[in-house]
Amino acid sequence: MKLLSLQRRMARAVMTPLTPSERMRSVAPDGRSMRAVASEIIKPNDRLTSFERLEIYNRQYWFRILSGFAEDFPGLRAVLGGNRFDRMAKAYLTDCPSQSFTLRNLGSRLEAWLQKNPSWTAGRRDLALDMARLEWADIEAFDGGAEPTLKPEHLASANTAKLRLRLQPYVQLLGLRYPVDDLLLEVRKGDDDAEVASNAFSERHHQKRVSAVAKLKPSPIFLAVHRMDDSVYFRRLQRDEFAILTALRDGKPLKSAVEHALRKSSGDPEELAANVQHWFQTWAVLGWFCRIEDKKSTGTDRSKALQRPSRRA
C-alpha cells in the first residue's frame, strides 16, 4: 500500500467521531466494519487487537481537539449548556476538521458553520452567534499583529482628503445584538472561581446568568476587541464611533470615512465634531492607528514629503 493511501485510510478512521461512551465506532464512515479497516493496515500484538491499537489514536485525536476547542469557547459553552455544546463541538469538528498547523485556528469557521446549522443554537441563535463572534475576535486580538503606531508628527504633512489611516491588525470591530462582553467576563470569572468551587455550581451559575441575558430585548452594541500591554480588552463604542472605525478599516480615506459614517447622524453638529475629535484622540492614545509608511498611498503631500528624510531604515 502506498504511503498516501495508507495515511488517507488511517486519517479517516482517526477522525471518525467516537461513540457516546468515547470508544471507537464499530462502523467506518463508508459503512465498512472498523475492525476490518483496522486489520487491513495495523498489526495486532499479544495484548491489543488492530482495532484497539487504532482506537488509541482515534480517542487521542478527539480528546485533544475537543479540549482545545472548549478552552477557546467557554462563553458559547455557557450559552448552549454543557451537553449541547459538547454535541455541537463534535458536529462542527467533524464537518470542519483542522486545516491549520496550529490548534489556535480550530474555531475559525465556527460562526459561518453555526449560521448554516441553526439547529445547534435553536432558542438562543443570536446570542450564540454573538458569543461565537466575540470569542473568535478575542483569539484574533490576543496574538494579532501589531505595527508601529502612528504619532502626531507623522500627520504633520498629511493631506486629510486623501489620507488613509490603517487600524492595527489586532483591533477587532464587532456589531452585536446582546451584551455578550459582560456575559463572557462573568463566565470567565465564574470559571476562575470554580477552581475553588464545584463545576456543577459553576454551570448552574452560568445558566442563570445566560437565561437573564437571553431574556433581554436584543439591542445593538458596538465593540472594539483590542489589546493593551498584552492583555485583551473589550471597549464599548458609540454607533458613530463604530461607523468611522469600520469605514477606516474598509480602506476609506479619512475625510470620506468620517463623512460617510456621520451622514445619518442627527445630533448637534458642534457636539458631533467635538465627539469625533475626542474619539480620534482616544484611538491614538490606545495606539490603534498604524504608522504611515507608504507616502503615495496615504495621500501625504508629495512636494513636502520629498523634503523630508525617509522614515524607512
Partner: protein, 283 residues
C-alpha cells in the same frame, strides 16, 4: 568543546521546555538554566503576549526550537504558510538547530494534531527525507528528527523503526533528536529491546536527547510527559550518553506541570551521566 555538525557545533547542557506556568518565575527570578526549548507553533503568530515573553526570554537565555506539526512523514508537500512562519521565528530566535518529529499527522490539508506513526517502508523513507531536506533548505538551519512513541505497527513495514530512522537520516543527511523515553515507551508497546535501538543509532548524528515521564496503562504505555523520568529510562539515557558523548539534553514536562524548581531539578539529574561522559572523554 564543539558537539557535532547537526547541532550547529554548539555545546549545550541541560535544558527544559519553556511552558506558560513558569513564565513569571523565569522572568522574575531569572534562574540559571542552560537553555530552553520552545514549541515553535506556539510562537508562529503575528504578535501579542507570547512573542513579548519570548523576546524577554531571548534576552537572557539560549532558546532552541522544537516543532510538533511539520509532519516530515506526511505524503503531502510542506505547507507554505507554515514554512514562512517557521522561518520568521527562526530568524527571531537564532535557534542553532530545529527539531520536529519523524511522524505524519496531516493528509489532504487536514490536520490531526497528533504524532501518527510511520509505516517503515523505503517509499516513506524517501518521501520523508525529501521533506526534511526541503525544510532545511528553506529555514537555513540544521534540522534534526525525533523518534516518536507509537502504539501501532503497520503490516506494510519493511524494516524496524531504528532501521527506518537510519534510512531517513542518511538520505536526508540530517541529525537525530533521540528521545530515550519514546524508545522505552515504544519498546514496551511493541516488545523490542530498547538497547538494540539505542545501540543501532548513528552516534555521530545525535544532536539532542529528550527525556520525559510517561503513563502506564494495563495493556500499553502512553507518552504523557506528566511524570518524573523513571529509572529504566535513565538507564537507557546512560547508555545513549555512553555512545554519543556529552549531548544537549532536554526534559519534557507538558501536563500536570509542577513548579519550575521541580522540573529543573528533575532535568538536572541528567548531570550524573553527562559528567561521566565528560570524564571519560578527558581520560
Amino acid at each position: 568543546m564543539p558537539a557535532n555538525r547537526f547541532n550547529n557545533f554548539t555545546d549545550y547542557g541541560i535544558g527544559i521546555g519553556l511552558r506558560a506556568p513558569h513564565y513569571h518565575h523565569i522572568l522574575t527570578r531569572k534562574p540559571v538554566v542552560d537553555w530552553f526549548e520552545i514549541i515553535s507553533e506556539n510562537f508562529m503568530i503575528d504578535g501579542g503576549r507570547p512573542l513579548h515573553i519570548l523576546d524577554q526570554i531571548l534576552e537572557q537565555y539560549k532558546v532552541v526550537q522544537h516543532g510538533v506539526s511539520m509532519y516530515f512523514g506526511s505524503a503531502e508537500r510542506p505547507n507554505k504558510e507554515h514554512l514562512r512562519r517557521l522561518k520568521t521565528l527562526v530568524q527571531r530566535t537564532n535557534t542553532p538547530w530545529l527539531s520536529d518529529h519523524l511522524c505524519w499527522g496531516s493528509v489532504d490539508g487536514r490536520y490531526s494534531h497528533d504524532l501518527l506513526p510511520m509505516p517503515y517502508t523505503f517509499e516513506a523513507a524517501r518521501i520523508t527525507a525529501q521533506k526534511v531536506r526541503e525544510v532545511r533548505d528553506f529555514v537555513e538551519v540544521p534540522v534534526v528528527v525525533e523518534n516518536v512513541s507509537s502504539y501501532a505497527e503497520f503490516h506494510v513495514s519493511e524494516m524496524t523503526e531504528w532501521e527506518f530512522l537510519n534510512e531517513v537520516v542518511e538520505r536526508a543527511d540530517c541529525g537525530i533528536l533521540l528521545d530515550v523515553n519514546n524508545i522505552y515507551v515504544s519498546s514496551r508497546n511493541h516488545s523490542f529491546d530498547p538497547y538494540t535501538y539505542v545501540n543501532s543509532v548513528p552516534a555521530e548524528r545525535v544532536a539532542q536527547i529528550h527525556i520525559a515521564g510517561h503513563s502506564k496503562y494495563k495493556k500499553y504505555i502512553l507518552d504523557t510527559h506528566d511524570h518524573p523520568v523513571i529509572d529504566p529510562v535513565w538507564k537507557l539515557y546512560e547508555r545513549a550518553i555512553e555512545r554519543v558523548g556529552h549531548t544537549a539534553t532536554l526534559l519534557e514536562w507538558d501536563d500536570s506541570i509542577p513548579s519550575f524548581d521541580e522540573v529543573h531539578d528533575e532535568a538536572l539529574k541528567a548531570n550524573r551521566f553527562l559528567a561521566g561522559a565528560s570524564l571519560a572523554k578527558a581520560v
